[in-house]
């Protein structure tokens, strides 16, 4: 009897033990239940919060957003499967619209970053002029892109699935060479009306591409600052926004021949430039070089023997603040270039954002330590430029590389920008007050090449219509590097030449450079009619500042 009583707690304990143990695996895998089609009748039984419950409020959000919020096409039929599927599709496109637009707004704010970086790196006597160029570049560039540039760039891109189709952008002008079609420029989308382009998806594409283009135009103002005639700046910017940028952007992003190097010639996935190291930054940097050639250095920049004088900017505080604004905007630039947060591959935005952060970090550190070791001090403006150089370089490969590669790309960019600034300044004797040629031109090219080296084959399935993920040289596909180098050759050989001729014509017709008298006085009054800082101008002169 006593033994039986002792067994009871043991049995109870054992039953608890069995209850808490994981269920044993079935002896043989049972076949999965056959899929059951959901019918409209099933949806009639879906419970939704009753009105008397809703009127009590929803403090924790558990009953807000449910089946009763799905729009019903036919009230007599009630909720149907078609209604649910349409809602799912619209949700996906709605998420992607919202994502792309908000990222576009972030990129638009980069204009403020560029404005204060460039103004801070210039002398106080040119502050109004430099700010005004950076302000009006937004308006002039947008006008050019709206009137001419957008149809040239995106008029033949075809349907963009993430944005619901954009089917009206379907007219690309092509020529046949080597037996293959070469896309040259698009034709649909003039005034966002022509060719049925009065379309919500097309509007999102326009906004997002416009802010990219405007980033390119604002790069040039830095290299030509402190001696660029305002009227010439207006014409030059218009030409860049209307023709130079859109043509190359079409070749890379708009369905043009560079994008199709993979499909037509077996070169990897064709030219791959995720967010525009080449399209945005190299085009801007190389145009800046062309303008700097034509316009010449500032008075006092070089001695008669060719020795470079440092002309110090007037406000390092706003320079570094501007760098932070730019880095913030870059989270729109790179992750936004998925043009979607919902759909196949779009969750890559997490990797893209982290890679962007990491490359900026190593770029800033690389430049700071280079300057510290070489000159004995951690130079603030070059640290800022290194930070930006890292961001520029990761812009093309950000979606295709892993975080370690992003760090390496950024670190190389940080050192490269210092070497490039020294070379441009002391060997080429090209005056670039803000280092735009090196930050955007040199490191834009580096970013394009880095994609062809470090792309690790984990992303980019179907990119430019080529099956499989994008792989660079280090992961087994040398042909991708050839496609990237073809992009570099096009940028250096064609885009630079195109920019040079356009700006040479501006020089002939308008005159690119202000008079020596205006330059010595500072451009604020001769060009703008008002000084930037009326109250400390006298103090600065009394101190003998330039």
């Amino acid at each position: 009897m006593t033994k039986r009583l002792l067994c009871i707690p043991l049995l109870i304990g054992a039953s608890f033990a069995f209850a808490q143990a994981p269920p044993a695996a079935p002896a043989a895998a049972a076949p999965p239940p056959a899929a059951t089609a959901i019918t409209d009748a099933d949806l009639k039984n879906v419970e939704t919060p009753k009105p008397e419950v809703r009127v009590l409020g929803d403090p924790d959000g558990s009953i807000t957003g449910n089946a009763s919020d799905i729009t019903v096409a036919d009230a007599k039929k009630g909720l149907t499967v078609a209604d649910v599927l349409n809602q799912i599709g619209q949700n996906r496109i709605g998420i992607n619209f919202t994502w792309t637009l908000i990222c576009g707004f972030l990129i638009m704010f980069m204009q403020a970053g560029f404005a204060i970086v460039e103004t801070g790196l210039c002398r106080a006597k040119n502050a109004n002029h430099t700010m005004m160029m950076n302000f009006m570049v937004y308006c002039v560039g947008m006008l050019a892109f709206y009137l001419i540039g957008f149809p040239l760039q995106m008029g033949g891109v075809g349907a963009i699935g993430n944005l619901g189709g954009t089917a009206p952008l379907n007219n690309e002008v092509t020529i046949t060479l080597f037996g293959k079609a070469f896309g040259l420029f698009g034709k649909h989308g003039a005034f966002l009306m022509q060719g049925h382009t009065y379309d919500v998806g097309v509007m999102v594409v326009f906004l997002f591409q416009m802010v990219f283009m405007d980033t390119t135009t604002t790069i040039v103002t830095g290299a030509a600052a402190e001696r660029w005639k305002f009227a010439a700046f207006m014409v030059s910017t218009f030409l860049l926004g209307a023709f130079i940028y859109p043509i190359f952007a079409n070749w890379a992003w708009g369905g043009g021949w560079l994008a199709n190097l993979g499909g037509n010639f077996g070169l990897g996935h064709g030219y791959v430039d995720f967010a525009g190291s080449g399209v945005v930054h190299s085009v801007g940097g190389l145009t800046a070089l062309a303008v700097a050639f034509i316009i010449g250095p500032r008075l006092g920049k070089y001695t008669r023997t060719g020795k470079a004088n440092a002309i110090i900017g007037h406000d390092i505080v706003i320079v570094l603040t501007g760098c932070f604004i730019l880095a913030f905007g870059w989270f729109g630039f790179n992750p936004g270039s998925t043009t979607g947060a919902s759909g196949p591959g779009n969750l890559r935005i997490g990797t893209v954002a982290v890679n962007t952060m990491l490359a900026g970090m190593t770029g800033g550190l690389g430049a700071m330590f280079y300057m510290w070791l070489r000159y004995g001090k951690p130079d603030a403006s070059m640290s800022g430029n290194g930070f930006l150089a890292g961001l520029v370089a990761i812009t093309a490969p950000c979606a295709f590389v892993n975080p370690v590669a992003a760090c390496i790309i950024g670190l190389i960019a940080g050192v490269l920008v210092c070497l490039s600034v020294e070379y441009v300044d002391r060997v080429m004797h090209v005056d670039d007050p803000v280092g735009a040629i090196s930050v955007h031109g040199t490191n834009g090219l580096w970013g394009v090449i880095a994609t062809g080296l470090f792309a690790d084959g984990t992303y980019g399935g179907g990119w430019n219509g080529v099956n499989g993920n994008v792989k660079g040289l280090f992961y087994g596909d040398p042909s991708q590097l050839v496609a990237q180098l073809m992009g570099v050759a096009t940028l250096v050989g064609f885009v630079f030449s195109f920019s040079f001729v356009a700006n040479w014509l501006v020089d002939v017709m308008v005159g690119q450079r202000v008079s020596a008298k205006a330059e010595l006085e500072g451009l604020d009054v001769p060009e703008m009619g008002q000084v930037g800082y009326p109250e400390f101008e006298l103090k600065a002169r009394a101190l003998g500042a330039q």
């Binding site: 190097l261 077996g266 001695t303 050759a489 250096v492 050989g493 001729v501």
Partner: protein
């Protein structure tokens, strides 16, 4: 001299571009494209820049 530099720069692009039609070998294309890039840089840095430096404002 500047015009000559511009033509050389464009020539570099043409060399790279022609690699698409002249060969199907990846290695040969890579060599041609690299030559094209080098020619373009020579045009910009070696010829155009030198042309501008001859008449540079700071020499006067």
């Amino acid at each position: 001299m500047v015009l000559l530099g511009l033509l050389i720069t464009l020539l570099g692009f043409v060399i790279s571009f022609l690699s698409l039609g002249m060969t199907t070998s990846v290695n040969a294309r890579m060599i041609m494209v690299l030559i094209g890039i080098a020619v373009s840089f020579t045009g910009i840095i070696g010829v155009m820049n030198r042309g501008y430096l001859k008449n540079a404002i700071w020499r006067k």
